[in-house]
């Protein structure tokens, strides 16, 4: 089985008077349908690794393979196209557009992709919201929702273009325990029921317990990689 996401000697250094190494020599194969948690203390480079895997950032060494494609030669626009078609992001602070309704936020990636007509996009948006249990909030604006609801809308947006991989950066970092449990369950179901690959960064041990595979990061290097029985 080929890996959906593969990192090869991946490194990222911030240039400057004193260069800062964020991650170094990361080798990683992530399979389709896996729910992977990247854990580590703050400053360990877990978010940086996620940005590299999510093609948001460009590595200074090594390469990322997505869906069997080497992305190292791609320019900014090609990387953006891969993000649009194959990746979905969920951030700690939901990052919804404040002036847009919930439905408009969810349909944003589909409208940018432009593969479907307006009616189809709307109905798929409503379907995603319904699946995440926030369909009745569709006409509201993000500030009218609770934190947990916002994060569910953000997940719906990440799923809009039916991506291969959903990348989540501290998705429960800002939520109460009840909402955290819901989001954790949703991400778990994404991997196990919908066959999405989910890569989440967290420092929440309880969240990590739901994952199929845990990767520990210290000082920009992998120091643990195990699948709990």
């Amino acid at each position: 089985m080929t890996a959906v996401l593969r990192a090869e000697h991946l490194g990222r250094t911030l240039a400057g008077e004193v260069p800062v190494t964020l991650v170094e020599d990361i080798n990683l194969d992530i399979e389709r349908g896996e729910f992977v948690c990247i854990m580590g203390p703050s400053g360990s480079g877990k978010s940086s690794l996620l940005y590299l895997l999510g093609l948001l950032d460009v590595p200074t060494s090594g390469r990322v393979w997505l869906d069997g494609e080497d992305t190292s030669a791609y320019g900014e626009n090609e990387l953006a196209n891969r993000r649009l078609e194959k990746l979905g992001f969920v951030f700690q602070f939901h990052f919804l557009l404040a002036e847009f309704s919930v439905l408009d936020n969810v349909t944003l990636p589909m409208r940018r992709l432009g593969k479907h007509g307006d009616a189809a996009i709307r109905s798929r948006g409503m379907e995603l919201l319904a699946r995440l249990g926030v369909a009745e909030q569709s006409a509201k604006h993000p500030h009218q929702l609770s934190g947990g609801q916002r994060q569910r809308v953000a997940i719906a947006r990440a799923l809009a273009n039916d991506p291969l991989v959903v990348l989540a950066d501290e998705p429960t970092g800002n939520l109460d325990s009840v909402s955290s449990a819901t989001v954790r369950q949703i991400l778990h179901d994404l991997a196990h029921q919908m066959g999405k690959t989910v890569v989440a960064v967290t420092h929440d041990a309880e969240f990590a317990s739901a994952a199929d595979r845990r990767i520990g990061l210290v000082d920009g290097k992998i120091n643990a990689d195990w699948r709990p029985a």
């Binding site: 649009l84 992001f89 990052f95 990636p109 940018r112």
Partner: protein, 414 residues
């Protein structure tokens, strides 16, 4: 609606007050641009109208500009031939075959022509003599190419047709000789032919020299007086669009062979002054729009700074840098289009208001109106200039927005 346009509109409607201020700048800029440039162009047209009112748009003379190519030069073309002292010929007998030439000129579109025979004569009345220029005209044709009819204060040009012995003179001459309508005056041509003529019309152009020296009679009468039967020595041409005079004069000269001088050629010095005046005017009115574009730049820069996080989100989702640039350029275009529409309406209102103003300059008896020119290209220039300055103002913020690096913003927010 395209997603980029929706984002652009959301940004603008989300900052009503700033958008309104930017919009007001463009509206006022366009309105003043339109009103002032229409006034200046109107006054320019008014000036040119006065400039060419009393002189024809094109005059065809019975002269040649260049000497004819000599037979020897034709026979040995390229040979070492030099013929000195060759001068352009002057047709002392007037324009040859003027009827054909008249027909040719009449066949050209947008143009009216009148034949004239000009000569010198001496007016003799009560023992006084005054040399004048006597022009033989065809009244019906003369009326179409000259404003003389409008300048008549007594009688008319048409009276010439009714009275073959009639003469039309200017007020200056009438005062000098104490002549009135219906009085007889003796006209002596250069060759000695003399004939009493009756004053059937008096004109006043406002140009003292013209009013003292120019007289008009019937073409047939002039031809008899000057002993040039069936000849004319000038073709006076008036164009619907005076600005085509230069091209038309060249075409006429190419066909007719005679020297054709357009008013543009005759008054190049004054026209270059007008061009300088236009440049000054457009740079001043453009300055208003340039100032307005700083307002747009300011608004859009603020939006870019405020919305960096949104831009980072859009880019992380998969928006290209050019999508983001497009969003901000669209914001500039929207302000430009909306501002132009309202600005044109306001500007047209200002123009309407200006055109109703009447005043009386000191020393002038007639009331003067502001000469507003309602040319469609003024509206087009104002709109184009507004749009260009809006797009330029949006360009820098748009470029900055396109360069936003999502990771830097996300890292900062986390």
């Amino acid at each position: 609606m395209r997603i980029q346009l929706q984002v652009a509109l959301t940004h603008l409607t989300g900052r009503t007050r700033q958008t309104f201020v930017s919009l007001t700048g463009v509206i006022l800029g366009v309105a003043f641009f339109l009103a002032v440039s229409s006034l200046m162009r109107g006054s320019e047209k008014d000036f040119i109208k006065r400039l060419i009112d009393n002189s024809p748009h094109i005059t065809v003379y019975d002269e040649y500009r260049l000497p004819r190519t000599q037979p020897a030069e034709l026979r040995w073309a390229g040979g070492a031939i030099r013929i000195s002292n060759v001068k352009p010929q002057t047709e002392t007998r007037g324009i040859r075959g003027y009827r054909e030439k008249l027909e040719f000129v009449e066949s050209m579109p947008g143009l009216k022509v009148a034949p004239v025979l000009v000569g010198s004569a001496v007016l003799v009345f009560a023992g006084r003599e005054e040399s004048v220029t006597l022009s033989g005209v065809v009244p019906d044709k003369m009326k179409t190419v000259s404003t003389l009819e409008e300048k008549m204060i007594e009688g008319s040009i048409d009276a010439l047709a009714a009275n073959p012995n009639g003469i039309v003179i200017g007020t200056g001459l009438a005062q000098k000789f104490n002549l009135g309508l219906g009085r007889n005056v003796n006209v002596v041509a250069a060759n000695g032919a003399s004939r009493p003529m009756k004053v059937v019309g008096i004109f006043r152009t406002g140009n003292a020299n013209y009013d003292e020296t120019q007289t008009f009679t019937l073409l047939k009468r002039a031809q008899v007086m000057f002993d040039r039967p069936n000849r004319v020595n000038r073709l006076i041409i008036q164009l619907d669009d005076p600005y085509e005079a230069r091209d038309a004069a060249q075409r006429i000269e190419a066909v007719a062979g005679y020297k054709s001088v357009s008013w543009i050629e005759a008054s190049e010095d004054i026209l270059s002054v007008l061009i300088v005046r236009n440049i000054i005017m457009y740079s001043v009115v453009s300055a208003i729009l340039i100032v307005a574009s700083f307002g747009i730049y300011n608004t859009l820069s603020t939006i870019v700074m405020e919305k960096t996080r949104d831009i980072a989100i859009l880019k992380s989702i998969g928006f290209h840098a050019r999508d983001v640039r497009l969003i901000f350029l669209l914001e500039g275009v929207i302000i430009g289009v909306v501002g132009s529409v309202f600005g044109l309406v306001l500007g047209a209102g200002l123009m309407k208001l200006l055109s109703t103003i009447e005043f009386r300059p000191p020393g002038i008896t007639e009331k003067v109106q502001m000469p507003i020119w309602w040319g469609p290209e003024q509206f087009a220039i104002a709109t184009a200039f507004a749009l260009v300055s809006c797009i330029l103002a949006a360009y820098l913020p748009a470029r900055r927005a396109g360069r936003v690096h999502p990771v830097e913003i996300l890292r900062g927010a986390a």
